[in-house]
Symmetry: C2
Subunit: 299 residues, 2 copies
Amino acid sequence: MSDADLRQLTTLAAVADEGTFGRAAARLGYTQSTVSQQIAALEKAVGGAVFDRPGGPKPVRITPLGAVVLAHGRELLAKAQTMAAAVDRFKAGDGRVDIGTFQSVSNVILPLVVRRLRDEHPGCDIRLFEEETDQPHVDEVDLTFFDGRAEGAVEHLKLLDDPYLLVARRGTFPDGPVRLAQLDGAPIVAPPPICDQVRVEQTFARRGVRPRIVFRTTGNETVLSMVRAGLGSAVLPRLTVHGADLDSDGLLGTHELRPALPPREIFLLWQADRTHSPLVARVIEIAVDVAAAKIAEHW
Amino acid sequence: MSDADLRQLTTLAAVADEGTFGRAAARLGYTQSTVSQQIAALEKAVGGAVFDRPGGPKPVRITPLGAVVLAHGRELLAKAQTMAAAVDRFKAGDGRVDIGTFQSVSNVILPLVVRRLRDEHPGCDIRLFEEETDQPHVDEVDLTFFDGRAEGAVEHLKLLDDPYLLVARRGTFPDGPVRLAQLDGAPIVAPPPICDQVRVEQTFARRGVRPRIVFRTTGNETVLSMVRAGLGSAVLPRLTVHGADLDSDGLLGTHELRPALPPREIFLLWQADRTHSPLVARVIEIAVDVAAAKIAEHW
DNA sequence: CAACTCAATCGGGTTTAACGATGCCTATTG
DNA sequence: CAATAGGCATCGTTAAACCCGATTGAGTTG
């Protein structure tokens, strides 16, 4: 049997439902002769009659062969409709988006993004992958937040500059800006030397400032706890500080640095030449929007 | 989304498999430009790109939208193939045939028909519906064996004439033909007055012969048992007698009648204007063949 | 027999399908 | 940097398919 196309099967089903070629034509918006020709073509394709035409004003009746084709044809049409519905849902934004992230963003930016996305698309499926690495895994997710540029065929969209602040126990430094040189030899609690942290430490070194790193930990909260405990001070991006509950006991204070360190840059990355789903495109828009709002409110 | 046809989905799958439009074209027997146009048409139909074209000598990559279409499309294509296979099987004779029948035919004709049909089409499904009624239910089955003509839009195919014989205990009548008049007043065991039996009894009456019906039963074997037991004689079609184990004890003998009763006619019936499945068509051929063989061997 | 209801068919205009040739883009290579 | 090669898009053309409108033919009904 050569292939029958979906249009012919639609016509077949309409005729089976309506009983006559003419009524089927009316339902489908064709003329009777067109239906006649389509059924003829279908019969040629399957190699046998699908309807018996009794002649006269009697409705046609489906043949055994026609019944076989009709049964399968209806399934096929149903499946085609399912596909159309799936495509429409996809385009409407129902679907999945996988987002790579890291702590600061997870705490400050992402909650707002996710909130707005779920408000717009309640049916969508958002998966977050949080990893603190030097290289973003841009090929395993749709989008990745990252604090730096990446190698390879990756598109970069800069969301905001995240300036570094000095966090210290109140009293350690006088209020107001602190000169970089004052950190030379000072006890410092720091994140591990990955991502933008390496750049920070390189900047210190280049300026001849050599702080004493007394403790490293991945947990931002842990860093602050250690500062609060008096182990040392910390130089952290504002996003990181902002996300934490800094003033819970009034023990900690923040200072700007003079001269300021080059800020950490927060990017949104994705694989180049990739067509985004509408959902992913919307995530990008929202992220830009949220970042702009952050900048506008001077946090 | 407007509908995408199966040809486009086939092309989509081929491109997804092969990686480039050109190789997909080669596989499908198209040219590259045709594939390009088909994908373009598909993309117009679904309302978005299904492939990313990186440009240069790199293979295309499917988009998220394309992945949705492809996943459903493959199912659709598989289903279409299933349909094609079902149609082919149907045309090859795999399928079902429903046959109406009655005792004599069930015993003598049908076993041969069924045997040959199953030899030719081991996968086919044969369903038999045996009923002893005055009117054949020709609309509920594909074919019906029947001992007479039917009303309405029914096609008749005469298979054979089934002459009536007198069955009696040996000694009741002298060997050889028996005159009809000899049955006047004779004790007779008979089937119920349905189907051809009414015609038999009308013929007797028209000729002034009035046998004494001493027992009626639907079971042909029961009729013979009663005759064997000496309850009376019986006038039965040869098919009925032939199917039974007449000579198991040598007690029974058969006689021709003079003048002969008009024979019972065995027909194969089906609803007029109905297109037969190949299997049904074959059943008709085989039935004709078997009947002809019966006639030829003079049973 | 006339009227009616169907499906099939014919002729013609329009759209679609496929091809072949060509052009453009990108990555590779010398 | 130029040349090359591999990839897709586009254009013009031809053949086929599609759909329509009108007509014909078959079979039923009044």
